[in-house]
């Protein structure tokens, strides 16, 4: 749209710049990581995750990145797919109220797959989750209610962009490459609300994670696309929203952190986790209680090892986190 701010460029610049992320946003990122890992472990033996794992294995895949809650390993694009499906298949997701977006099941598996494959620290992983979630949520805010009213599932359509940014951040993309990662993912924005409550709803979240990783990898090798994928005349906003609000997407970017407003939905047998507004330490403790209830049945006492890995920022590898996610994996 003529005269509209350069949304794609603004987001790509933010996503690829050195940023001093405030502790409150990092705490929100840790909450997303813990909740999503817990949900993925809990869902890792469900029918959706089993079918997805068996399917991608039949396609042929190298063993580069882990599946949460399972000993098998896959290509990063397929690990992101299976982990995203597992995390989205049981309910109890996170939610950002203003955008109506569930963000963990797309952004976290994408960031984790690359972090583990490239052996990055948990601290870097959480920072990438924060940046990816922030971008995805802000695109969702900009697309507004008309996007969802039309039938689009915002968690997937904007999740793929958040996933691409998180994966791109893990790969260390510079701004021009990050802009291409945004563009390659925006043109793959998919997901229908008509699939809600089915295995397919979980699939489209996992596919958003997978497409995000792949978009970042293609951007890193130099594949090019439009620099105005979101705001262009035939771009994401024009095609899927009747009233895009680009100012809302960019407003306060890097100063006000939307990711801090993500809360977790209550789940049977598991506390709702820390909520926005609570002190970071209280939030984290509440999130741990919830996660414990989710994964204790699958992991038993190994749960504490997993949580230690999720919270370790002192240079520990993300590989340890994945290894701690299944019984005997970190032993």
């Amino acid at each position: 749209m003529t005269g509209s701010p350069a949304v794609s460029q603004g987001l790509a610049h933010f996503a690829s710049s050195p940023i001093d992320i405030p502790e409150s946003a990092m705490a929100a990122g840790r909450g997303l990581l813990i909740n999503t890992v817990a949900l993925a472990v809990a869902g890792s033996r469900g029918q959706a995750a089993e079918s997805a794992w068996a399917g991608v294995r039949a396609l042929g895949t190298p063993e580069l990145a882990g599946i949460l809650g399972r000993p098998e390993r896959l290509s990063p694009i397929w690990a992101a797919l299976v982990n995203g499906i597992a995390a989205a298949s049981g309910g109890g997701d996170d939610i950002h109220d203003r955008s109506q977006m569930r963000v963990g099941a797309s952004v976290v598996p994408a960031a984790l797959a690359v972090a583990e494959w490239r052996d990055r620290s948990v601290g870097e992983l959480v920072a990438a989750i924060v940046i990816g979630a922030e971008v995805g949520i802000r695109v969702g805010i900009g697309l507004g209610p008309s996007h969802r009213d039309r039938g689009w599932e915002v968690s997937s359509t904007c999740g793929v962009i958040g996933a691409a940014v998180a994966a791109g951040r893990m790969l260390g993309l510079d701004t021009p490459a990050m802009l291409m990662a945004v563009g390659l993912s925006a043109t793959q924005a998919a997901g229908l609300r008509a699939a809600a409550g089915t295995m397919t709803a979980a699939f489209q979240m996992g596919k958003a994670a997978s497409n995000g990783v792949e978009s970042a990898l293609f951007a890193a090798t130099g594949l090019t696309t439009t620099p105005i994928s979101i705001e262009g005349r035939r771009g994401l906003a024009a095609l899927t929203s009747t009233a895009p609000d680009y100012e809302a997407t960019l407003d306060g970017l890097g100063e006000r952190w939307e990711v801090e407003q993500v809360r977790t939905e209550p789940l049977a047998g598991a506390a709702s986790g820390g909520q926005p507004g609570a002190e970071p330490a209280d939030r984290q403790a509440a999130m741990l209680d919830r996660a414990r209830a989710l994964v204790q049945p699958a992991l038993g006492t190994d749960f504490e090892r997993l949580i230690t890995a999720c919270l370790d920022f002192r240079g520990e590898s993300s590989r340890l986190l994945v290894a701690a996610s299944f019984r005997g994996g970190a032993g």
Partner: protein
């Protein structure tokens, strides 16, 4: 019964019968044309970029990529194949559905898997034909609004067609096929904003890979909700304000959209073709193109929307420049691949003519119609009016012209291979496997050192 179930039932039944001879012939023509365009662009840097990602995260490379010596896993081979087949915008075009290019998606979704599963030639050709038919029928259900709103229907509908093609190769039953279609539908992609970049061609390649994933997951027990196509906020409603989901199944097996497929004589947007025909027609009487002062180009209004680019910067943009097509038609008397090279696009004589072209939208013109009026320095005027573009439904390329196109497009990557390729496609009906076809469309391996 939900539309996906009806469609899956019908298509599964069709897959167990021989294709009607005219359909088989058109499938062979579409296949030949797709192989030609895939081979032609197989060395493009964008294909190299996809293969670099494949080398780092792809599985065991066994699936062929037409025109290339290197292989990839099913996922990345599909992306490379569809990307290359569409890169030059020279692939098959189905006009009524919004210029859908079904062949690139269908070949990319079926070739590697059919080879892996040791399909017979006839099983492969049938899966290819039904993948095309699926893409086209889904596109018809949301045409023309979907394309006009700004989408690339080849890749929004592509994952569904790819899922059916790959699903038939895998031998899915009708329930699994219907699930595969739903899993394909939620993997749609392709905004027209990416036109003019390699991502336009990445779209059909990726949509084929998405179709393969949909079929593979359905084979492993993954399910999709029924009714996803006709749901009031489902696939058709989301993608086109005006839609007719029933067109997916209406007349399935009796009326074939594939029979309406066309093949481009020029490597550019199909709406540019009638103008190029007119320009080539006039070029013979144009003794000195440098004396052209003005070109009035009457055309369908869609050209101003899609291809109004008076000064394209290079090859990719020129493929979507109505002005460039007419300029080279007038100056060179042809519009082949060499007329779209960066060098030719930037050359002074062509730029000069392009700058003098005025597009004039004519609401009464058909999409295959154009008229040129060339005004010379001495005031003389040349006129040509084309009602039906060459390569369109009214003037289809003959089998011989299609073979010449194949021969031309194979010149760099597979010189002299056209005869063998055409023979292996013609022999598919009787072929016990795809060995001859695959070895005809990839370069011979270097001889082992002795």
């Amino acid at each position: 019964m939900a539309l996906a179930d009806q469609f899956a039932l019908g298509v599964e039944e069709l897959s167990r019968q021989p294709l009607p001879p005219p359909v088989r012939h058109e499938a062979e023509r579409t296949l030949l044309n797709t192989i030609a365009t895939a081979v032609c662009s197989s060395g493009h840097p964008a294909v190299d970029q996809v293969l670099r990602v494949s080398e780092s995260v792809g599985g065991l490379p066994f699936a062929p990529i037409p025109g290339r010596i290197d292989n990839a896993d099913l996922h990345f081979a599909a992306i490379c194949t569809g990307l290359a087949a569409h890169l030059d915008d020279f692939d098959d075009t189905h006009l009524a559905s919004g210029n859908v290019h079904a062949g690139s998606v269908a070949l990319a979704a079926t070739l590697g898997m059919a080879m892996q599963r040791r399909s017979t030639g006839s099983q492969f050709l049938t899966a290819f034909a039904l993948a095309c038919e699926t893409v086209l029928r889904v596109a018809m259900a949301i045409a023309p609004a979907h394309h006009e709103e700004g989408w690339q229907p080849s890749s929004t509908c592509g994952p569904i067609g790819g899922a059916v093609g790959a699903g038939l190769v895998l031998g899915l039953d009708q329930t699994q096929l219907a699930s595969a279609m739903g899993l394909g539908a939620v993997q749609l992609l392709g905004h027209r904003e990416a036109f003019g970049t390699p991502t336009k061609a990445f779209h059909p390649g990726k949509s084929a890979a998405n179709g393969i994933l949909a079929a593979t997951l359905a084979a492993s027990g993954f399910t999709a909700p029924r009714g996803l196509f006709e749901d009031p906020v489902g696939f058709c409603a989301v993608l086109a304000r005006e839609n007719s989901p029933d067109r997916l199944v209406a007349g399935l097996g009796r009326e074939w959209e594939l029979l309406q497929n066309t093949y481009k004589p020029y490597p550019c947007g199909v709406v540019c073709h009638p103008g190029i025909d007119a320009a080539i027609e006039l070029s013979g009487s144009l003794s000195d193109p440098s004396r052209v002062t003005q070109v009035l180009y009457d055309c369908h209004p869609i050209l101003l929307e899609l291809v109004d680019r008076p000064d394209p910067s290079g090859e990719l943009e020129a493929r979507f420049s109505a002005q460039h097509g007419v300029a080279v038609g007038l100056v060179d008397g042809s519009a082949g691949l060499s007329q779209y090279s960066d060098e030719r696009v930037r050359s002074e004589d062509v730029r000069r003519v392009r700058a003098r072209i005025e597009l004039r939208p004519k609401p009464e013109f058909g999409r295959e119609e154009a008229a040129l009026e060339v005004v010379m320095e001495d005031g003389s005027r040349l006129r040509a009016h084309v009602v039906n573009a060459k390569g369109g439904l009214a003037r289809p390329l003959s089998d011989a012209e299609l073979f010449s196109k194949l021969d031309d497009l194979c010149r760099v990557a597979l010189p002299g291979a056209a005869g063998r390729i055409a023979a292996s496609v013609a022999a598919l009906e009787q072929a016990g496997d795809l060995h001859d076809l695959v070895s005809a469309i990839v370069p011979a391996p270097a001889p082992e050192p002795t």
